[in-house]
C-alpha cells in the first residue's frame, strides 16, 4: 500500500451513480459546499443518452490554485453504481480513496491493495431509517454528502445553508434533509475519523466569480444582444440554449404594461425549418438565432448556402458533441469545425467564433448578433457539450450600458428618398458589404428580389459568367473585412523566448492553462495562442510563422483546425503537429502535458533545450 494521497484544496473526486437516482442534486450540493468554502472547483457531468438506469458520473476538481480544466486521474471515487464498479475502482490513482456502500460484503478481489477503502453501510442505514423506497434512495445521496463533507472538514453549517437556499419556499423539506445530512456526518465522525487525507480548508479564492452553464450564458447573451426570434429543434446538448432564452425572456422581455412578449420562440418541426425561420426573420430585420448540434448542422447545409449567397444575417449556436452520425450524443468534441467553416455546396466560407467558457459564450452570443447584421451572413458560435452543459466558475458577466447594437448597413426610407443609389449587391464603401433594405420600407424604391440564384449588383437575375464571378469575388473580399471584425487571438508568451508554440481553442482553454504552467515548471517553454475566430486574423498566421514548430491541440480525430490553418494560411503542413483528443471526455491537463512534453522530447533530445 503506497502512502495515501494527502492533499488540501487540490484533488479530484468522482461520483459514479445510476442515471435518474437523484444523485445529481446531491453531488452538486457537495460541489457547491466546496465553493462556499471559498475554494475554486470545476465540476463536470459525464452522462449517458438515457433517462433512467444507465451509468452516470460527476467529477469535481478541487483546485486552490484555480485550475478549472479536468486534471485527469481520480483521488477519491464515490462508487455508487455496481454496474461500473470494476472500471471505477481501476480508475483510482495509486494511494487514492474508494468510498463505497459496505452494506453487502464484497470479496477482496473486488478491491485493490494500493488504495484506501472507506466503507459505509449506506443501504443498511437507509433501510433502518426510512420505510419509503423513494426516500431511501434520495436520502442515501444526502447521507453520503454528509459523510464526505465531514471527512473533508467542511462544516455542517456550510452545507446546511446551501440546503436552506435550495429549498427556499419549501421549508418542510428542510428538516428531513438536515436529518439525512447529520446521519452521514455523525457516522463519519464516529467510524471513519481520520481515514481521508483529502481536506478542504476555508479560503477566499472564489471571489465574486459566478457558476453557470454555457448554454444558459448563451440564452442570456441572446437576450442582451437583442435577439427577438429564436427557432430550434430539440437536440442534445443544445436544447438548454432555447430553454434558457425562453426563461430569461419571460423575466426580462415581457412588456410590463400589456403583458405581451418582445420575443418569439418557435419549436420547429426539424432543424431545416428552424434555420428557415431564422433566415426569414433575419431577412426581415429581426435578430434571430438557432441552437443545434452536429446532426442539425448537417441538416441545415442547404440553407447556410442560401444565407451566404443571398447575404442574410443568421446566428447559429453549435453545441458540439461526438460525431459522426449520432456518434456520442452526450459526450463532448470539437468536430464540426470544417463542416461549419465550409458549410453548403459550392464555394462558401463562414465566420466562426470559439468561446472558451460560459462568460465568453455570453459575450460572443451578443457579438455574433452584431456581426451577423454587420456582415450580412451566418455566424457560427462553436461551443461544445463541456462548456454548454456544465456549470463553470467564471468571471461575472458584464454589459456596457453605452453599447448600441450594430444593425449594419440598412438603407432607410429617408436614404432612399434622398436619392441614394440602391444596389443590393453593390459595394459602395469598399468593404464589400452592400446595403440592404427591409421589406415594406418605401413605396417605390428599394424593393428587390432575394434569391439563391446568381444575379448582378442590382439583384437582377443573371447567368453571365463575369457577373457571377464579380459577385463571388466580392464575397471573398467581404470575408477579408470579417477578418478585421472578429475577435483576435489571445497569445500567452512563455516566460522565456520559446522556439515552439501551441495552439488551442474553446473548451480546451482551462486544461491548457494548467498544462502550460506545469510545462513551465519543468523548464519547457512554449508560447501559446488561443484562436477565437475564423477567418483567422493576421496575428494567427504570424504566430505560426514565428515558431519553428507549433502543436495544435484539438478535440477531434482529424485535426480539423489544423486543416483549416494549413488551407487558409498557406502553411507548410510539417510546421503544425496535431495533438488530438477525441474520446468524448473533456480534455485533461495531464494529457496535454504528456503529449506536448513527449513531442518536445522528440524534437529536442535535451528537454530543457526547448527553451533558449
Amino acid at each position: 500500500m503506497p502512502k495515501p494521497i494527502e492533499a488540501t484544496n487540490d484533488f479530484v473526486v468522482k461520483f459514479a451513480n445510476v442515471n435518474g437516482s437523484g444523485s445529481a442534486s446531491a453531488n452538486e450540493l457537495f460541489a457547491r459546499s466546496i465553493l462556499r468554502m471559498g475554494v475554486p472547483i470545476a465540476s463536470r457531468n459525464i452522462f449517458p443518452s438515457n433517462i433512467q438506469g444507465l451509468p452516470t458520473w460527476y467529477e469535481v476538481r478541487v483546485s486552490g490554485e484555480g485550475w478549472l480544466g479536468r486534471r485527469g486521474g481520480v483521488d477519491l471515487m464515490v462508487a455508487m453504481n455496481p454496474q461500473t464498479w470494476d472500471k471505477d475502482v481501476a480508475s483510482i490513482d495509486p494511494g487514492g480513496y474508494l468510498f463505497y456502500d459496505s452494506s453487502k460484503p464484497l470479496p477482496p478481489s473486488k478491491f485493490r491493495p494500493d488504495i484506501l477503502v472507506i466503507g459505509m453501510p449506506l443501504t443498511e442505514i437507509c433501510n433502518r431509517t426510512y420505510t419509503d423506497p423513494r426516500q431511501r434512495q434520495l436520502f442515501k445521496n444526502i447521507i453520503y454528502v454528509g459523510a464526505l463533507t465531514a471527512l473533508m472538514g467542511i462544516g455542517a453549517e456550510v452545507v446546511e445553508s446551501l440546503i436552506r437556499e435550495q429549498f427556499k419556499g419549501k421549508e418542510r423539506l428542510l428538516e428531513p434533509n438536515f436529518k439525512a445530512l447529520h446521519i452521514g456526518r455523525d457516522y463519519a465522525s464516529e467510524h471513519l475519523e481520520g481515514l481521508c487525507k483529502l481536506k478542504v480548508e476555508r479560503s477566499d479564492l472564489v471571489g465574486d466569480r459566478i457558476f453557470l452553464e454555457g448554454n444558459d450564458a448563451i440564452g442570456l447573451g441572446c437576450v442582451y444582444g437583442g435577439a427577438s426570434v429564436a427557432a430550434w429543434y430539440p437536440i442534445t446538448p443544445s436544447t438548454s440554449v432555447a430553454e434558457s432564452f425562453n426563461a430569461h425572456c419571460r423575466k426580462l422581455r415581457v412588456d410590463p404594461e400589456t403583458g405581451e412578449n418582445r420575443f418569439a420562440i418557435v419549436q420547429a418541426e426539424d432543424e431545416l425549418a428552424a434555420i428557415g425561420v431564422v433566415i426569414g426573420a433575419g431577412w426581415n430585420g429581426a435578430r434571430a438565432f438557432t441552437a443545434t448540434s452536429g446532426p442539425g448542422i448537417s441538416l441545415m447545409q442547404e440553407f447556410f448556402g442560401l444565407a451566404y449567397f443571398a447575404e442574410i444575417p443568421a446566428v447559429v449556436f453549435d453545441i458540439q458533441r461526438g460525431g459522426p452520425s449520432t456518434g456520442m450524443p452526450t459526450r463532448t468534441q470539437q468536430s464540426d469545425i470544417l463542416l461549419c467553416a465550409y458549410a453548403s455546396h459550392g464555394d462558401t466560407k463562414h465566420v466562426l467564433l470559439f468561446p472558451e467558457d460560459p462568460r465568453e459564450s455570453f459575450d460572443f452570443a451578443a457579438e455574433a448578433l452584431d456581426l451577423a447584421e454587420r456582415l450580412q451572413t451566418p455566424i457560427f458560435v462553436m461551443s461544445d457539450l463541456d462548456i454548454g452543459m456544465n456549470q463553470w466558475l467564471c468571471e461575472p458577466l458584464a454589459w456596457d450600458e453605452a453599447r448600441r447594437y450594430d444593425r449594419g448597413k440598412i438603407m432607410t426610407a429617408e436614404m432612399l428618398e434622398s436619392g441614394m443609389d440602391f444596389g443590393r449587391y453593390l459595394d459602395v464603401d469598399g468593404d464589400a458589404i452592400p446595403y440592404r433594405t427591409l421589406p415594406g420600407t418605401h413605396p417605390t424604391r428599394g424593393a428587390y428580389f432575394t434569391r439563391g440564384t446568381s444575379r448582378d449588383r442590382y439583384a437582377k437575375y443573371s447567368e453571365e459568367g463575369a457577373v457571377y464571378v464579380d459577385n463571388m469575388q466580392r464575397l471573398l473580399r467581404k470575408f477579408e473585412t470579417a477578418k478585421l471584425l472578429v475577435p483576435k487571438p489571445v497569445v500567452h508568451q512563455a516566460a522565456r523566448k520559446a522556439r515552439f508554440g501551441v495552439i488551442y481553442f474553446g473548451s480546451t482553454a482551462p486544461a491548457m492553462a494548467e498544462a502550460l504552467d506545469a510545462l513551465g515548471k519543468r523548464g519547457l517553454w512554449v508560447d501559446a495562442m488561443r484562436i477565437r475566430a475564423f477567418p483567422f486574423s493576421d496575428e494567427v498566421i504570424e504566430f505560426v510563422n514565428a515558431h519553428e514548430q507549433v502543436f495544435i491541440v484539438e478535440q477531434n480525430r482529424d485535426g480539423q483546425m489544423r486543416t483549416l490553418l494549413i488551407n487558409e494560411g498557406a502553411i507548410d503542413p510539417a510546421r503544425i503537429v496535431s495533438i488530438p483528443h477525441y474520446d468524448g471526455a473533456p480534455i485533461t491537463a495531464r494529457f496535454i502535458l504528456a503529449e506536448v512534453a513527449e513531442r518536445l522530447g522528440q524534437l529536442e533530445p535535451r528537454l530543457e533545450g526547448a527553451a533558449e
Binding site: Y224, R262, E269, A273, G280, N284, A286, Y448, R451
Partner: protein, 353 residues
Amino acid sequence: MSYLAKPKFRHKGLEQNALGFTHRDYEGAISTLCAGCGHDSISAALIQACFELDIEPHRVAKLSGIGCSSKTPDYLLGQSHGFNSVHGRMPSVLTGANLANRELIYLGISGDGDSASIGIGQFVHAVRRGVNMMYVCENNGVYGLTKGQFSATADTGSKSKAGGINADSPIDLVSLALIAGATFVARSFSGDKTQLVPLLKAGIAHKGAAVIDVVSPCIAFNNHAGSTKSFDFVRAHNEAVNRLDFLEGREAIKLDQAPGTVEDVVQHDGSVIRLHKIRDDYDPRDRVKAMDYLQQRHAAGEMVTGLLYLDPEPRDLHAGLNTVKAPLNRLDERALCPGAAALTALNDEYRAG
C-alpha cells in the same frame, strides 16, 4: 426573360383604385414561363386581387420555394420585396419573416412539388401554427422544369406525356390543409378568374393561415389526354360548391339575390364574404362535413372548388405566442436589452461563493 424590364409607358385612362394605383403598379417582370401557362393566369388574378383590395404594393412580402410556380413572384408586385428561397422550405422562411414584422401581408407561392413532396412537412407545420399568410399552391401535377415527371398530386392512373401511368396515390393539399388546421381553405382553377379573384381577395384578408389550391394546367407537360390536370379534364370535372364576393367593411352591403342562395359571412375585421351558394347544403363553416364531402366527391371523380372552409375568427401564430403589437424588427435596445443593472442582479443569482 425575367430580367427584362417592362416598358414604362402607361395609358392615361387606366383605371385607378382608391389609392390611385393602376394595374401596372401591381405588375412585375415579364414572365419567363411557357405561353399559355396556368401560372400566369394566377399571377394576373393576384394582381387583380391586390389592385381591388387597394393594397399598397410595398406592404406585401412574396415568398416562394423552387420550381416554375416559385418563379412567379417575380412576375407580380414589382414594388414588393420577394424571396425565392430553397425547394420546399418557403413556409419556414415565411414564418420567420412574419414573426419579424407582423404588419406586412405575406404571400406564399408554391407548387405541387414544392408543397406536396419535398416541402410537405413545412407546409403542414406552417399551417398548423396558424401563420398569417395566404399560401397559394399552383398545382399542375407535374415537374415542369425537369421536364415531365409526376408530382405527388398526380392522380392514380393518370398518364404522363411520355406515356407512363401513375401508380401512386395522390396527395390532396386541400384535405391536408383542413386536417392541419388551416382556417381558410379553398380550391380553384387557373382558368376560372371570376371564381379565383374573390377567393384570393378573401384569402389575403384572412388573418390566419389561408390555403388556396389552384389547379393550374402545365401546357408543356401535362395538358394531354389521360392527364387529370389538363384544361379539358378540369373543366369537365370541376364541381364548384359556391362562388363568392369579397366585400371590405366600408362597402355598402346589400343583397340583390334571392334569399337562401346568398349568405354573408362577417369576418373579425368587419369584412364580408358573400357566398353565392351553388350547393345549398354546403356549409363552409363545418370543417368535418367539408372533409367528408371532399372525400365523397373525390371518390366520384369530381374536383370540388370554391371556398371549402372558413373560420371567421382565426387565431394566428402571433396570438399564440402573445407577441407585442409592434413589429419585432422595429424594437430597439430600450425594448430588447435589460441593461447593466439587471445583469448585476443576475450575477448575484449566479454567484458561486
